[in-house]
Amino acid sequence: MSKALKDAGISALIALGIFGAMVGLPTVVGPGGKLSLDPQPWTVAIIVAVVFFGRLGIVLWQANRKPRVKAKSTTHSKYTVANVAGPLLLAVAVVLPMAGDRYLIDIGILVMTYVMLGWGLNIVVGLAGLLDLGYVAFYAVGAYSYALLAQTFGLGFWTCLPLAGLLAAFWGMLLGFPVLRLRGDYLAIVTLAFGEIIRVVLLNWTQLTGGPNGISGIPRPTLFGLKFTLGDGPDTFAGFFHLTPSITYRVAFLYYVIFGLALLTNWVSNRLRRLPLGRAWEALREDEIACRALGINVTTTKLTAFAIGAGFGGFAGAFFATRQAFISPESFTFIESAIVLAVVVLGGLGSQIGVALAAIVMIGGGEVFRDFNEYRMLIFGVALVVVMVVRPRGLVSGRTPSVSLGRGGHIAADMMSEGHG
């Protein structure tokens, strides 16, 4: 008990040091721009007390906890997360717009966009094991490609969608070439630099991109030529089907577009995993040297991973542009890359269902905290750290191996270190 008290006391002292000045002495700009301090002793006292009792509680709980004996299950359960949650989520996703709640559908679109981005990045990070911190660059390329093509040449969304994907994939290749020789963290920093370069160029090339003002008036998608404007002419969706014009149709349509795109991403990456190319990606992730020794062309393998991942980022970007009808460089900052990467890693690298779950928890959860806007990102950051410390392998930390001999099946998290997964 005294040890616990001492431990909690030290924690409280550290908390006093950390929060004492930063929280307790906020600088305020007075009249005439003169700075002064506005002491907040009670806020600090509360924080320190919370830390003290929190630490005390944790220490006592840990001391009294009986050591758990982990029973090693030898039988593989048929009901894994992927088998149960997958169809369930799919069913919910299909019927979600039927609820007709505009706000709910909007959140659905947002979550679905991140699910798609997550699945796209999963190809690069989860399958090929290449850490990409600049994924938002391809998202931006897709968005600006669609916006510029639509505004300059008057092309429609469905024509531009594949073009945006192709352009983003092309940029992925372009980035891929120089970084092929780099390993791990060097790769991460170069992709981050690349993302920043794209953003700075978008911000300053005013003639082409409109600079910080962005591009507005981006056309909305149509359904086989039927527009979703508020009117009842024969060329609008409502008029053609003799419905009362409503904004909900367009939102629901957008929802199904991104839903379809996300499913496409999932389907393609699941298929690719079973191809020799996908197996080469996973082999590359586990051991590059062994890959070379076995005669796998590392260059093409990495480049295809980059290009395909970037292509899906481009699709998502084009969708983002058409959904918002307005884009500016502000939407493509590093924090977006960080969020997408967090979705992939929290979901459990390489696990498709995990990415979907993580996107729902993080993006949907973020929307719940929308009212505490100031604290939202603070909570997001802390949550990232806590989840990593508690479950470093992600929420769904097991996955079905692409190849297995005989009665394979699910691989548990603790087996997933190198060489087993």
């Binding site: 950390i18 930063m22 920093i189 960080a338």
Partner: protein
């Protein structure tokens, strides 16, 4: 990111180039101080401490708080106030460094490669927004504490100036790096650090407390970052909660450019990035100076994947 003083005089003259050189070196010194923290941590545990740039930002805020508080207490003798601020900011920032390592990175040691990096990104986002919530989102301005300087020479009406502030930055940086080099090469702590860098398991078998050594590395890195924060605050006179990201990315670029793990490399890389930015802003365009710095990084890494002074890392199978 940083606004380098741009003169309406067009380039071309020697004086103008010299002025850019002075500005670039000053900026490079600040980058170098931050880069040392990155390079040390990377050298020992092989992770990008993504939150390091935000520790720099916290250091700048702590300096602002200390200077404001000392001003309110009536301590206006500048050298004394600066010395007290330096101690305060470095001390508290060191506590930040230690705590971050303890709660966000230590539990993840031995986990898979991406885990600490994600944790660090989370920590960076948390620190940034913590500063925003605690100290407000507005830019905070500080009046110039060390004004003046002297003219070096004049050419065609263009005056090359060296401000006292630039001299202070250079002197403080060089002194700290000297102290630090001594620490790493001559003391037992430095030996322990270098041993951890080579083989952590063997080091712990030889009776060295690896956790303590790594914790101290974070402490030193954070203290240096806080000094950089103080110098930044004094030099530019304006800070906000977002300065950490850009400075962090630039400093990491500097560390990679110089060769991650090498201390002189970090300083050389910092100077290189500072000079590239200053000359690019002076002769080409201020808007694209970040692009220039990052492009140089990419080009260097293509031709020298280990940076300027880095050791080639031979992977054994």
């Amino acid at each position: 990111m940083f606004v380098t003083t741009q003169n309406p005089h067009t380039g071309g003259s020697l004086a103008y180039a010299l002025q850019q050189l002075i500005n670039g070196i000053t900026l490079g010194m600040i980058y170098g101080l931050i880069a040392v923290g990155y390079t040390m941590v990377y050298g020992i545990i092989g992770m990008i401490n993504f939150a390091h740039g935000d520790v720099f930002m916290i250091g700048a805020f702590l300096s602002l708080i200390a200077l404001t508080g000392l001003g309110m207490l009536g301590i206006t003798y500048v050298p004394l106030a600066l010395f007290l601020t330096l101690l305060f900011a470095a001390g508290i920032a060191a506590l930040y460094g230690w705590t971050i390592e303890r709660i966000a990175y230590r539990p993840l040691r031995g986990s898979f490669r991406l885990a600490p990096l994600i944790s660090a990104i989370g920590m960076s986002i948390a620190l940034q927004n913590f500063a925003q919530v605690a100290q407000g989102a507005r830019d905070k301005n500080l009046p110039e504490l060390i004004p003046g300087g002297f003219k070096i020479f004049e050419e065609n009406g263009f005056v090359v100036q060296l401000s006292w502030m630039q001299i202070v930055i250079t002197v403080v940086t060089v002194a700290l790096l000297g102290l630090f080099t001594w620490l790493v090469t001559k003391t037992s702590l430095g030996r322990a650090m270098r041993a951890c860098e080579q083989d952590m398991k063997m080091t712990s078998l030889l009776g060295i407390d690896v956790n303590r050594t790594i914790g101290l590395t974070f402490v030193i890195g954070a203290a240096l970052a806080a000094v950089a924060g103080l110098l930044f605050l004094l030099y530019y006179g304006s800070i906000n909660f977002y300065i950490g990201f850009n400075a962090g990315v630039k400093a990491f670029t500097a560390a990679v450019l110089g060769g991650v793990g090498s201390l002189p490399g970090a300083v050389i890389g910092g100077l290189a990035i500072g000079l590239i930015e200053a000359f690019w802003s002076g002769y080409a365009s201020v808007e694209y100076k970040d692009v220039a710095a990052f492009s140089v990084l990419i080009v260097v890494l293509i031709f020298m994947p280990t940076g300027l002074l880095g050791r080639a890392d031979v992977e054994k199978v």
